[in-house]
Subunit: 185 residues, 2 copies
Amino acid sequence: METVERLIRSTQELLWERGYVGTSPKAIQRAADAGQGSMYHHFTGKAELAKAAIERSGAELRAAAEEQLGGAGTASARISAYLGRERDVLKGCQVGRLAADPEVIADPDLRAPVAETFEWLRGRLAEVVAEGKRAGEYPDSLDPERTAATVAAVVQGGYVLARAAGSTEPFELAVQGLVDLMGAK
Amino acid sequence: METVERLIRSTQELLWERGYVGTSPKAIQRAADAGQGSMYHHFTGKAELAKAAIERSGAELRAAAEEQLGGAGTASARISAYLGRERDVLKGCQVGRLAADPEVIADPDLRAPVAETFEWLRGRLAEVVAEGKRAGEYPDSLDPERTAATVAAVVQGGYVLARAAGSTEPFELAVQGLVDLMGAK
DNA sequence: GTCTATAACCCGATAGAC
DNA sequence: GTCTATCGGGTTATAGAC
């Protein structure tokens, strides 16, 4: 694999685990097996490299969500598939994790790909909910935008509760509780 | 205010904003207006001080939640009051924020107060849901533990989405979506 | 109980050789 | 394109004076 690719992937992994504040250029170089000069030849610094890594992670999140949300079956089945798909729950969300980082949130260039990723996710979920309403799966009273935000929040919050507990159980409970609520009409 | 108190409160504030990894003893000393020697006289180091600060933040979260959850009114009204109470949404949750920090999660002494806080919250929410079931507000089919986890997750996930978006809107949508779902029977 | 001095190392970046 | 050297500053303490 080329150096640039190794740098981006190593940065993705470190941002996921330690955030922007907790990730040093030296750690990236070690993980990517690249020298100091090499990293600064390809990128102007930590921020530019992080931007590339966050954009990549956002694209990966969209692709993974689209696998379930764009699949076959009823709207309800696709949302349940999205909620229930295999996840490394204790590792958390590679994009959502960055919302906790003060320097990502403070820098418009770094926050933009995070914001866009969740905007896309909420919009895509809202589309599926709207389809479900048209198919008679959900009551007319259900608001697609609100429901979409709730679904995305349960996933992100489920990660938080699971990591806090050191167990995947709270994530699974939260998701199951939401599925119960969306099934009861 | 005494030095120890200033140190704990400054550490709470910095952990909230920057996490454990992003908070240095020097920054704490500056914020607390305490010298190096002073800090190390009262605490063995950063970890012990952080432990005291996290325990304090956990107690504050419990007290704030109990204000709504232990108030008057129906179960449904108390849960809505909890969800809708005034929050500094873009600042996030002072306890939930720590679930993102690798060193908090890796150190049992630091993770324990985070875990206990959310265990308490989920338990307390489950009690209120169970009361609501007995009062006929919620259907018999509703599982209190699952529902409690969903409520806690929507709040934590709402913070994540709001910080990502740079706007409180996603938080409000997610909460309203949950209230809608819990009202529809 | 608080001060200053010092330790050994890491931080993010730049310079210039190769 | 990658290397090593260097920069000025920060990190988490420890030591010992006051």
